[in-house]
């Protein structure tokens, strides 16, 4: 490594970045994405639009109906419209849940005959649909439970669930999503910037300068990656501040671990971009390829949508192939759990990230050609 040459080359790269005004986007994109998504993505179901058709108008049916009006999960309305009309509302996507209480509800209840409550749920959005369905069932069953207790019909003991949520006591969506988003942003942004660095020169022909210069391959890569790496390192702190102060996510782990693993992760992301830049010949291909290998896996395998342990088949394997999963495990640990280096799993995942980086860098150096084919 010759420091002077490296310095000259890195400065040139810096200047190029500044000239294209890309510098704004380097910081704007992660910040904007985090803020927009942090406010926009809600995984749990709240305010499901519920319509209750009460054909009974009795004390008990009202009591049941009011369960859906005073709950944060449902946005309930009691109405007397026709059943067909209500189903049409669901078809127009203006309603999520329809509950129909039969006309002889209270009478049946008191006489001990069976009464049937009709529930219609829009499951076009399958996961939301089944979540809503189980909420509705839970709400109806627990109301029934209360009624039974009031009427002294219950003979056996009751079991209540005393649940304690670990790590995210308030069950806040922000706590569950924001750390995962940092993992997504730091995966996509550096890669897309790095992906064009080399292929751009290939397409313009300026790559011949490198072919003809005495610069070695690893020096070339280092000089190319160092400017973006140092620019993106600042993002680690910016995103941290946004997460802590804007979204009030708790931070229980060690900051050093957060910083260290994030730097490692940025390097991995850069190496993925660099690898794409090396193997492609055209900028358009490089852009499309980077988008496909970063954005979607970064989101799908981040653990925001579902825990990796619940995945099956191809997705399970693919989740283990991308670095997102390992980094996010560490990230969630530093934010919400706080085990730090005492957990052997975290040390193992750090090692995997490290191995990943070395592998990518070696492959990149091997594939980069320093001459015309």
């Amino acid at each position: 490594m010759r420091v002077n040459i490296l310095k000259a080359y890195a400065i040139k790269e810096f200047i190029e970045l500044f000239r294209t005004r890309l510098i704004v986007i380097v910081y704007l994109m992660p910040l904007m994405t985090l803020i927009l998504f942090g406010f926009g993505i809600r995984m749990d179901v709240t305010n499901a639009r519920t319509l209750i058709i009460d054909n009974d108008h009795s004390k008990y049916s009202m009591e049941l109906g009011s369960k859906f009006q005073h709950s944060k999960y449902f946005d309930g309305k009691v109405s007397n419209i026709d059943e067909q009309e209500a189903l049409r509302l669901i078809k127009q996507a203006k309603l999520d849940i329809l509950i129909i209480i039969p006309s002889s509800f209270e009478k049946n209840l008191l006489s001990g005959a069976k009464s049937e409550i009709g529930v219609f749920v829009d499951t076009a959005f399958a996961t939301r649909g089944s979540t809503m369905e189980s909420y509705v069932q839970g709400a109806i069953l627990s109301t029934a439970n209360e009624l039974a207790r009031n009427m002294q019909r219950q003979t056996k003991g009751m079991i209540t669930i005393n649940s304690r949520s670990l790590f995210n006591q308030a069950m806040r969506d922000e706590d569950a999503i924001v750390p995962g988003l940092i993992g997504l942003v730091l995966f996509v942004a550096p890669a897309i910037l790095a992906a064009l660095l080399i292929v751009k020169e290939k397409e313009k022909g300026t790559i011949f300068n490198f072919y003809a210069s005495p610069l070695s391959k690893s020096e070339f890569l280092f000089a190319k990656l160092f400017p973006i790496f140092s620019l993106h390192s600042l993002n680690i702190f910016i995103l941290f501040i946004v997460a802590i102060y804007l979204f009030d996510v708790e931070f229980r782990g060690s900051f050093f671990l957060y910083w260290f693993s994030s730097e490692l992760y940025i390097l991995i992301s850069l190496s993925i971009g660099m690898l794409i830049s090396i193997v492609t010949k055209k900028q358009i291909v490089a852009v499309v390829l980077t988008v496909i290998v970063t954005i979607l896996p970064g989101f799908l395998y981040s653990g925001i949508l579902m825990p990796i342990s619940s995945m099956v088949g191809e997705s399970y394997i693919e989740a283990h192939m991308f670095p997102v999963m390992y980094y996010n495990h560490i990230l969630y640990d530093t934010f919400l759990i706080g085990q730090g280096f005492s957990s052997s799993k975290i040390v193992l995942y750090l090692m995997i990230l490290f191995a990943y980086l070395i592998f990518l860098f070696t492959v990149g150096t091997l594939l980069l050609k320093k001459e015309l084919k």
Partner: protein, 359 residues
């Protein structure tokens, strides 16, 4: 018209010449969608349950036997609460249940008892759903003397099958990404090389040129959509089609057209491919993830709800979900068609003015 066809064919040819690009586009329309549809499930599945049992094990075992596949893995027994907690900390276990020594005695005596449940809530939605499941299992177990039965109907997707929902969502996101990037780059490359000015100097209507160039990219993506619908969405996942296939294709075409408008916008404001890459990601990520595909629009922050009104993807996703799953009639779909067309026309109007003129 002849000029239109020539430019159109030229763009298609130059796309086909880049083998790698063709491969990447084909890959994303088939394998990528297949993988997303195959494995991602948001509802609890294979949830790892652990328990500590301080009772003799009559009732506790009966309750535990209700945890079965596919939602739950076989419950694992731990010797003490401490071991259970450490398993949860390492994310090996998502839900831990503790049966107190008193539990069975109190229950048999007809008194109220409680179960202690520990839940890893780093994934809040799964935890919450798991809790509801648990509640239902227990309510079901205590066998109420209440003669209420719930008859529930899942509309439009009886088995609550997630596969095709994910596949369709992934397809819609892909259409957005590819149309925007491909269109933007087609224009910017000419700008970068300086050939765009020469094109504008020629005695051809620049509007025609812009239309031909962007429609060629729309056509490429439409072919991909057809392949992907045939092989993956309908082929491997047997997605039911409750509405009309042609209205879906028509909506897709209109949507691709207005996405191309976004691409045009990106091309108009950026100078080189590097800027296109950055800008299109800047525009695409919010567009895709805030479009209602992952979170319904009404559950978002009020400001974002307003913002999503100008996203064509929002109308497209609502529209195609209605067509594919809900089988909505054409009359009810008209708002989606008009909104998308309107946004597309606006974006093109901007594009025409911005890069369709030399001076």
């Amino acid at each position: 018209m002849r000029i239109f066809m020539i430019i159109f064919t030229k763009e298609i040819l130059s796309f086909l010449r880049s083998t790698m690009l063709v491969v990447v586009v084909l890959y994303s329309f088939t394998v990528d969608i297949y993988i997303a549809g195959q494995g991602i499930q948001i509802k609890p599945r294979n949830v790892a349950v652990g328990y500590v049992d301080y009772t003799g094990g009559g009732i506790s075992q009966k309750i535990l036997s209700r945890f079965h596949k596919p939602e739950f893995l076989l419950p694992m027994r731990f010797k003490s609460q401490k071991e259970l907690s450490s398993a949860i900390f390492n994310k090996e276990i998502l839900v831990g249940i503790v049966f107190d020594a008193e539990f069975e005695k109190l229950y048999r005596q007809g008194k109220n008892t409680q179960l202690n449940v520990l839940i890893d809530s780093t994934a809040a939605s799964q935890s919450l759903t798991t809790l509801v499941y648990l509640q239902n299992i227990i309510l079901d177990f205590t066998d109420l003397k209440m003669p209420i039965s719930i008859k529930s109907h899942k509309l439009f997707n009886e088995n609550a099958d997630n596969h095709y929902f994910m596949a369709v969502t992934e397809l819609l996101s892909l259409i957005t990404m590819l149309v925007i990037i491909l269109t933007a780059i087609v224009f910017v490359k000419e700008k970068e090389e300086g050939t765009w000015d020469i094109m504008l100097l020629m005695p051809i209507n620049p509007k025609m040129m812009i239309l031909a160039k962007s429609l060629s990219q729309v056509a490429i993506v439409m072919v991909g959509v057809i392949l992907s619908l045939g092989f993956v969405v309908f082929g491997s996942f047997d997605t039911p089609m409750n509405g009309s296939f042609w209205s879906f294709m028509f909506l897709t075409f209109l949507y691709s057209f207005s996405s191309a408008g976004i691409g045009l916008f990106v091309a108009a404001v950026s100078k080189d491919v590097m800027q296109v890459a950055q800008l299109s990601i800047l525009i695409m990520m919010p567009l895709i993830f805030l479009s209602g595909a992952w979170t319904p629009v009404y559950a978002m922050h009020p400001i974002l709800q307003k913002l999503s009104l100008i996203s064509p993807l929002r109308y497209y996703i609502e529209g195609s979900e209605s067509i594919i799953f809900r089988g909505t009639e054409f009359i009810d779909l008209l708002p989606y068609f008009t909104e998308i067309t309107l946004l597309g026309v606006l974006l093109y109007w901007y594009g025409f003015n911005k890069i369709g003129k030399l001076f």
